[in-house]
Symmetry: C2
Subunit: 410 residues, 2 copies
């Protein structure tokens, strides 16, 4: 089989991402119970079918009355009203409030007809039959209006958005108890490399523990995806092909690490071709994370990442994550860029774009980034505190304190 | 039973939080498998027991050689070396590299003795027996040093920190496959209020759907806690007492919503007392979220929040969340405050501190907050896009664009 993929042009990370985004479609939708939908992606727009609240109610325990009856009430001119009703929450008022009357009212209870204000319990003197008020209230004071939280017809949840707690509160307040969401992507993870060793045995000299598997699985789980680990493929095309085939059959995407760099053991692209996967990108013009291989078979994505954990993860954040977000149904899949002012220098220069790991510093009203100390291809330790990747443009010289870079959250 | 709790001083949210923090101890620890520890809280410090990598290796596919042999290599002066070995990853080199020799080397493979640089495969001309180089390399160029990711003894994971994907990568690379974490708090959630209705029936006029239950459960699950919902207690002390008792027995904390405001139906504090819970705080000087009730029994927390969902959630974020984080073993439990510049005005003033819901805006290098439109006690809709709470100090006048406030992430 020819290795035509080696002739594919090497694009920037955003060009590679955009090229592949065009090939990905979201998964189907399914209904889930409302108490299972946190973090799921909404597959339809939800509008308010009712106003919330749908009746005028009291925000506190107190007395409901007509504001005109207490217009001139003060310490020197106390006004005593007759208590004609007691309205608990969940119970409809039976009496209209007439001149000189009030109703005891509890938090959340409907305000009776003709009453237009509620005074706090602690601001009155009262007995069972009467309440004395020593201040005036404005019309509508301490009254919760119809629709104060949600107007009928307002959008509660847009399509393609991760459902957060407040959205769940809104959906529940409308009585929705099954929510239409996109299916959760199932991602197969395959490791390769004869040097990679499972965790349960003492480390053989010259080998490394399989950290990328766990790192990648955790990133996928953080995105709310399911991760199915298929094992370590031996360094031969047959073995890798068999695992990719299995992964592609039973999952929505396959991610395989190692075996993608440009030596003559670039087994992964060869195995991908054997599986009938069309390779769309082989390598990306970025540092770290240059070594990678992206292919598609019947709309299904197969991703080969570097065996070096930091390279793998930076390529993952820059290229793979937006693709997986599209698959998962997100409406916004590309990270939002914003400017950060770099606090500390980074001396190395590169011909291609470089993505620098860093931490966001929000102090004194400014938006800054601390560049983490180690930026090597294999360095995981500098990702522990990294919440940002900043983009150093190609041909950019050394990064100096005070430089402004575009950055995005990871 | 006397209602002495009514005489408790009303403190600020931070004073209330700090008072209660003193009473809370973290849960016990347990070991979990490494692929289950994402988001769990580490219960011990993890140090690197080995350097990673623990041998000198190649970051790429290429040829390992002595830099002195190619010191004068150039386009005009190509240097041809004899290929004496081929080193795959996971295999130890058998040959020493002598003058005029090189070894073919694959990504991740150990660099052979005497070689001190690796040249990329693409930058050479080669056949099976020789490689020709047309450039010089520096000593140590393209060599991954011992400990480049992790020095032996370096701290990988501090105690009391939520375990993130990069930490999982570090732990795996050291071969740790069981991780010592704090137990996950189990939180009982109880709703109260005769006006509160389950989602599965058409809404009765004057009642409201039980949104707070789902909102609160989602916030707890977002914190990685388990949430056990015990149902809606009817508005009487006996019923509430029974559910609190059950909740306290089977869970690490109880949160009950509704029935805490200062009317004569303040059933929750009464029920808490009946359960033998010592009430430590009844009400907090903050807006919204003033109505609340916090008590302790044998070191176990019982939290009463408002029935108004926004009040409940703001009190939750400001007071309850740090307490629950301490229970869960977090070392840092109080939110980090940082300055935000407010973009838009908020006119209402208050005698007590006010927590404003808003969204962080990071543009042009500055750290700003958009105050969300609706800030009422019952308004959930303005929490959908809220990622911050900003603190308006007590007695502060109206908030104007450009004002600087302390804020924290929720």
């Amino acid at each position: 089989m020819t290795k035509k993929y080696r002739e594919l042009p090497k694009l920037s990370f955003s060009e590679t991402r955009d090229l592949l985004l065009d090939k990905i479609e979201p998964l189907n939708s399914e209904n889930v119970m409302i108490d299972e939908c946190l973090g799921r992606v909404s597959a339809r727009i939800y509008f308010a079918t009712n106003a919330v609240p749908n009746f005028v109610k009291s925000p506190l325990d107190g007395y409901a009355m007509r504001s005109c009856d207490i217009r001139y009430a003060s310490e020197d001119n106390p006004v005593t009203l007759k208590v004609v009703d007691e309205i608990r929450a969940g119970v409809l008022p039976t009496k209209v409030i007439n001149k000189g009357e009030a109703a005891k009212i509890l938090t959340g209870a409907p305000v009776p007809q003709n009453a237009d204000c509620v005074i706090m319990y602690e601001q009155t003197e009262f007995d069972e039959k009467s309440v004395t008020v020593k201040q005036s209230l404005k019309p509508q004071q301490n009254i919760i209006q119809i629709g104060e939280d949600q107007q009928k017809g307002m959008m509660l949840v847009p399509r393609g958005s991760a459902i957060n707690p407040a959205m769940i509160g809104l959906l529940a307040s409308q009585g929705f108890h099954e929510i239409c969401t996109y299916k959760t992507p199932e991602i197969a993870v395959i490791s390769t490399g004869d040097e990679v060793q499972d965790l349960d045995q003492p480390l053989v000299f010259g080998k490394v523990y399989n950290s990328t598997r766990y790192l990648l699985a955790a990133e996928l789980r953080k995105m709310n995806f399911r991760c199915n680990y298929l094992g370590i493929a031996q360094d031969n095309v047959e073995n890798i092909t068999a695992l990719i085939d299995k992964g592609m059959e039973e999952n929505d995407t396959v991610i395989i690490t190692g075996g993608v760099s440009a030596g003559d053991y670039d087994l992964v692209p060869e195995a991908m071709q054997k599986c009938g996967i069309e390779i769309m990108a082989y390598g990306v013009r970025m540092k770290p994370g240059m070594a990678c291989c992206y292919g598609i078979k019947k709309g299904k994505l197969c991703i080969g990442l570097s065996g070096n954990p930091a390279s793998a993860m930076i390529n993952f954040h820059a290229v793979a994550k937006p693709l997986l977000k599209k698959l998962a149904g997100f409406a916004e899949v590309c990270p939002k860029l914003f400017k950060v002012r770099v606090i500390n220098a980074f001396g190395k220069t590169a011909k291609s774009e470089r993505l620098l790991r860093g931490s966001l510093v929000l102090e004194n009203g400014s938006c800054e980034m601390k560049v983490n100390a180690e930026q090597g291809n294999i360095v995981i330790s500098s990702m522990v505190n990294a919440d940002l990747l900043a983009i150093v443009p190609k041909e950019h010289g050394p990064v100096n304190p005070g430089d402004e870079l575009d950055a995005f959250f990871i």
